[in-house]
Structure formats: C-alpha cells, structure tokens
Symmetry: C2
Subunit: 213 residues, 2 copies
C-alpha cells in the first residue's frame, strides 16, 4: 500500500481485536503497535506505566495517586505537569508516543484511545471489533485458563475500564458506531475474514479518495 494510512483498532475484551490488528498489519506490510509498545515509549518520557499499572485505563482514583505521587516527587516548586493527576500525565505521554508512531508512516495501532489522539489525522481509519458476550467469555476462559465465572467477571470489568477510559478522555461513547469508520462482529466472520474485510474496506475507501482527489 503506497498511500499513508493509520489504522486504529478498538476492541471489546475477548473479541480477538488485537490479533486481527496484528494480522492486518502483516497483510498490509506495515508496523503494528499495541498498548505494550505505547507504554514502553511512555517510559522514555519519564512516566513509568508500571507504577500506574493498577489504574491502567481507569481514570478513577487519579486524585489519590496524584497526591501520593506529588508527595513522592514533591520538589516544592510549582510545575503544571506535577499538578496533573498521574493517569492524565500518563495519557499525555502515551499520546505523544502514538503521535510519534503515526508520524513515521502507515501503521496499525491497537488501544490507548489512538482514534481520539489522532482525530485530526486525514489518513485515519478507525475500526471497532466486537463479539457476542458468551463467545468472548468462552475465548477468555480458554486463553487465560480461567473458570467461566471468573472469565465473565474479567471480560465485563475490562470492557467497563476501556469504556470509562475512552469516555473520560474523548467525551464520546466507546463502541458507538459513528465514532468509527467500520465496526464488525468478529464472531460472525472469524479472524481471517475479519482481516480480509478490513482490507476490502480500506481499498474501497482509498479508491473513493483517489477519485475525489
């Protein structure tokens, strides 16, 4: 693919969205970035996401952590960056990393509100992957070797976290179709065909862009 394209993937927990993103990047022969890589990048900018691990993708309790962190980092000097709650500073650091990735050229980015962070980018394609709840619980139970009840809890909780995180930073509804260019039920297609359908969407979109100039 010659044209620059930045594909962001948002996904329900257990929908296979991360895998689909990884395989999509391979199919298009462009880099793939996920939350772990974004966090690695954030470390370089001075925030250690491991420290924020427990609040990952939850803006709640940020005041408490902020107070704790200010006490820890406290210098006595006024600094706007220290004034911000730790989760917000992490979000800003992650956003910087996401923008750096996108500046390097075409890529697939999964998670971390990338579709919001890059909302002004004209080459953006935003995808949302979802799947039937019971099917996702089955997947989670198998993949993480969890009893069904526990898998249910983890699935619900992770989606809730992602939804809150997205709503907090973007002021939009996570999983609302109009916030994405394409949304699909991965359970209806399977991973191979989900990747192929996204490629089809991108080709059709690029064709229209070329025609419209």
């Amino acid at each position: 693919m010659k044209e620059r394209i930045i594909i962001t993937i948002s996904r329900q927990f257990g929908s296979g969205g991360r895998n689909i993103g990884k395989r999509l990047a391979k199919a298009l022969d462009i880099p793939f970035y996920d939350s772990e890589l974004i966090d690695e990048g954030a470390k370089e900018s001075g925030i250690n996401p491991d420290m924020v691990r427990d609040m990952e993708e939850t803006p709640t309790n940020s005041l408490l952590y902020s107070i704790a962190t200010n006490a820890f980092f406290g210098t006595g000097h006024f600094s706007p960056s220290v004034e911000l709650p730790l989760t917000d500073r992490l979000f800003l650091a992650q956003s910087e990393v996401i923008r750096k990735f996108a500046a390097q050229g075409s890529c697939v980015i999964v998670g971390r509100c990338a579709n919001y962070v890059l909302r002004e980018d004209p080459d953006l394609v935003n995808v949302f992957i979802h799947r039937d709840f019971e099917e996702r619980v089955n997947q989670v139970s198998k993949l993480y070797d969890l009893p069904r009840k526990r898998a249910e809890e983890v699935t619900k909780k992770t989606d809730k976290k992602r939804s809150n995180y997205y709503a907090y930073y973007s002021d939009k509804n996570w999983g609302q179709a109009e916030n994405y260019d394409l949304c699909l039920d991965s359970g209806k297609l399977g991973e191979d065909s989900s990747v192929a359908l996204i490629v089809d969407f991108i080709e059709k979109r690029n064709l229209r862009r070329r025609i419209r100039g």
Copy 2:
C-alpha cells in the same frame, strides 16, 4: 444467493442507508421492504399509520393519543388491544408485517426496529449505516431543497426520533456497534462500495457458517 438471509438496515438520517438497502436487495436479487411497505401492511391489520403519522417513531404523547383514540373508538367493552397506547398497537401491527415478510424468504428490510423484531431469527444480518453529520446535512439540504439551518434541525430531530423509538422498544442503544453485525460510514465509501462491502461481509459470513455447519 441460495441460503435464506434476512438483512436489516438501520441508518442515520441522510446517510443514504435506505438507498444502499434498496441497491443491496437488487444486487442479491431478493425483495426490499421499507417503512412505507411495512405501514401498508399494518393498515390491513386495522391500524392506520397515517393517523399516527405525527407520532411516527416517537413513543411520546402516546397516552394522550391513546385517550383520544379510545374516546374515538370507544365501545364500552373491555379489550386489551384498546388498552394499549396507539403507538404500541402500531408497533405490534408493524412487527407482525415484518415477521410476515421475513417468513416469505430472503429479503432486505429498512427501519421499524426490524433487527429487534426479528432478533431470534438465525438467518439475520444487522447493518447500521452512518455518516459524518455535516455531510448528511448537505445531502438532506440538497435532497429536500431545505436551507442549511432547517436541514440541520430535521437531521437532528429525525435521528433523535429513531434513537428514542429504538431505545423504547428494544431497551438497547440505537447505533451501538454491538447491536449490529456490521456498521459502516457510507461517506467514506460511497453507495456503490457500501453495497459491495455488505455483500462481501455476507459472503464471508456464509462461508464461515458453511464451514462450522
């Protein structure tokens, strides 16, 4: 297409969703039903949707209308159907028509909560069509020859009506990706490619169903 398939299309006002549905039905060589045809069918069951025109897709004021209608139809006999607000009786009549259409075989149905009415049908594919608000207002302004400000009002109001109507009967969020199999931004593809992408989705879905048995 040999396999029975029932495709429902929900759409934002001005997104071109109805046209896409019509062209999809033509591409698949199956019947197309829209709100008008559903309303025609409902007339046969004794409810005249013209009488309910003003409250179309709005459950509000149904009590008032119900009282007015009871006074009008009032027989003095107890009848559960007369007890129901008029909008609810219309919904039930429309639902009957939708089920009758689906029972006749493969088809495309646009509007009237068909994806909720037919939710138990195993051959259902639910599609949601949306588009950038400004682009939709442009379309509405051109199509209905309205000044821009008025086109904006009509677009917002019609979406609000559809959203309320869907939430009232289905208890789910209109336009929430997980309530559909496929959602797409028709502005990114244009009508031709939107139809082609839905066909591609259906072929991939049917392939998976055949493999899984």
